[in-house]
């Protein structure tokens, strides 16, 4: 795939950096985040960050894998450059959620799940998916 940095995306990437407090260009693609990620993502954290570094904002933002992040923070803990992929992923998720684009349909929610799950799972789920 031929990658051309998109000029207008630079502004959105800077906004993402401001929102998350992360410096995306610090990443040097060592891949420790991806190696430690338990979420078996199709597009893993280091690749999402590489797309951002290449100025391909929409590819990163629309990656389905960001919704599989469980915020276990293994990636952030292991990053030798002090970048938090988990925070960047949450920043991308927030862009969808703040656009009123939820990823869990409450109406279709399994009643059994709601009855049996600890409150903390439901509240965290609300925060991350709705």
């Amino acid at each position: 795939m031929l990658i051309n940095p998109v000029e207008k995306d630079q502004k959105r990437i800077r906004e993402l950096e401001l929102a998350t407090g992360e410096t995306i260009s610090d990443c040097y693609q060592c891949g420790k985040c991806t190696a430690g990620c338990p979420a078996s993502m199709d597009m893993p954290p280091s690749v999402i960050i590489q797309y951002l570094k290449l100025g391909q904002f929409d590819i990163a933002k629309n990656a389905e894998s960001i919704w599989s992040c469980m915020a276990c923070l293994t990636c952030s803990e292991r990053c030798p450059k002090n970048v938090s992929p988990a925070a960047i992923i949450e920043g991308l998720k927030n862009l969808h959620l703040r656009d009123m684009d939820p990823r869990v349909n409450l109406e279709a929610m399994d009643r059994d799940f709601l009855a049996h799950s600890p409150q903390m799972a439901i509240i965290s789920g609300f925060r991350k998916f709705i």
């Binding site: 401001l18 929102a19 998350t20 407090g21 338990p38 979420a39 078996s40 919704w67 599989s68 469980m70 915020a71 276990c72 923070l73 293994t74 952030s76 803990e77 938090s84 988990a86 925070a87 949450e90 920043g91 927030n94 990823r103 869990v104 799940f113 049996h116 799950s117 600890p118 409150q119 903390m120 799972a121 439901i122 509240i123 965290s124 789920g125 925060r127 991350k128 998916f129």
Partner: protein, 303 residues
């Protein structure tokens, strides 16, 4: 004991009053034996369960700040040390990281205070029950209070993620190679099963969207513990407990693994103290841990 027990302000959180009642009750019963009292805050709200990872999200700090204000007022009024004890790992992580964020950035604290129209001064230190046992009581002292012979139990300490990470902000132990729960189990006299998956993620809130993935992650952890010879797993997190325990209902994923009970560390502590565990809701677990204790005849057996 003639001395009045130490009273520590305690924040339970939602799960502790519902699905994890056994965790709270066992922790309180054990505290009584050890000689301290968890004094629940009068007016508390949900902490929000997950700490916001993006720095712009100050709304996520309002709920924990409300709790910290309550605790601060209580401590000032009663002239006790500004500590707040927690049991739930999500609450601990959220409150502790809020404490850290305000310590680093006073401006953030001022903004949240202004929004809430409250005045949090930033004095509260958030501690976990396990941390209190290690740092204030001391595991060697705890060992002296054990009444039951625990040496027959092969127990795997499972840490999960949020009790330890991020290390810079939580600072309880090394997130890659923790020992606090090992040392706790050692003090109880259990056979401690060190296993590689002890800090792997159980899937957390992903259970809301991808329960199959959570089953798989839970299976990997339990199968690993089983391979290393564990009979049971202890944890401090109600969501880890729920995921690891409830996932075992997935008969397809767990076809080749016998049921393994997943206990809160305080439930095991209560057994070690020889306490009556009737109210500790052991029967509520998907994999009933009671046969394990009955088979080993732990009830009131002296050391």
């Amino acid at each position: 004991m003639s001395e009045k027990p130490v009273r520590i302000p305690y924040y339970p959180g939602c799960t502790m009053k519902t699905k994890a009642l056994g965790f709270e009750r066992s922790a309180m019963d054990c505290a009584e034996v050890i000689g301290f009292e968890m004094d629940e805050l009068k007016d508390w709200n949900c902490c929000g369960a997950s700490y916001p990872l993006t720095k712009d999200n100050l709304m996520g700090l309002t709920a924990p700040t409300n709790i910290l204000v309550e605790a601060e007022r209580r401590c000032q009024k009663e002239e006790v040390d500004p500590n707040l004890i927690t049991l739930c790992v999500f609450c601990y992580n959220t409150l502790k990281r809020t404490e850290y964020a305000f310590g680093q950035d006073k401006k953030k604290l001022e903004t949240v205070n202004a929004f809430l129209d409250r005045k949090y001064e930033g004095s509260i230190r958030v501690i976990h029950y396990l941390e209190y046992l290690r740092d204030v009581i001391g595991f060697d002292n705890l060992a002296k209070m054990v009444k039951t012979d625990m040496s027959k139990y092969k127990v795997a300490p499972y840490y999960g993620c949020l009790l330890l990470k991020p290390k810079k902000e939580i600072g309880l132990d090394d997130p890659e190679d923790p020992v606090i729960m090992h040392d706790f189990l050692d003090a109880l006299g259990c056979k401690v099963i060190d296993f590689p998956a002890q800090v792997d993620c159980c899937g957390s809130y992903l259970v809301m969207r991808e329960p199959k993935k959570v089953s798989k992650l839970s299976y990997d952890i339990l199968a690993d513990a089983n391979e290393y010879g564990a009979e049971t797993l202890v944890t401090a997190c109600p969501l880890c407990q729920s995921n690891l325990d409830q996932s075992q209902g997935d008969k397809v994923q767990f076809a080749d693994l016998d049921g393994m009970p997943v206990l809160y560390f305080t439930q095991l502590l209560a057994v070690a103290f020889g306490l009556d565990t009737k109210t500790h809701q052991l029967e509520e677990h998907h994999i009933d841990p009671r046969p394990l204790f009955e088979a080993n005849g732990s009830d009131s057996e002296s050391k």
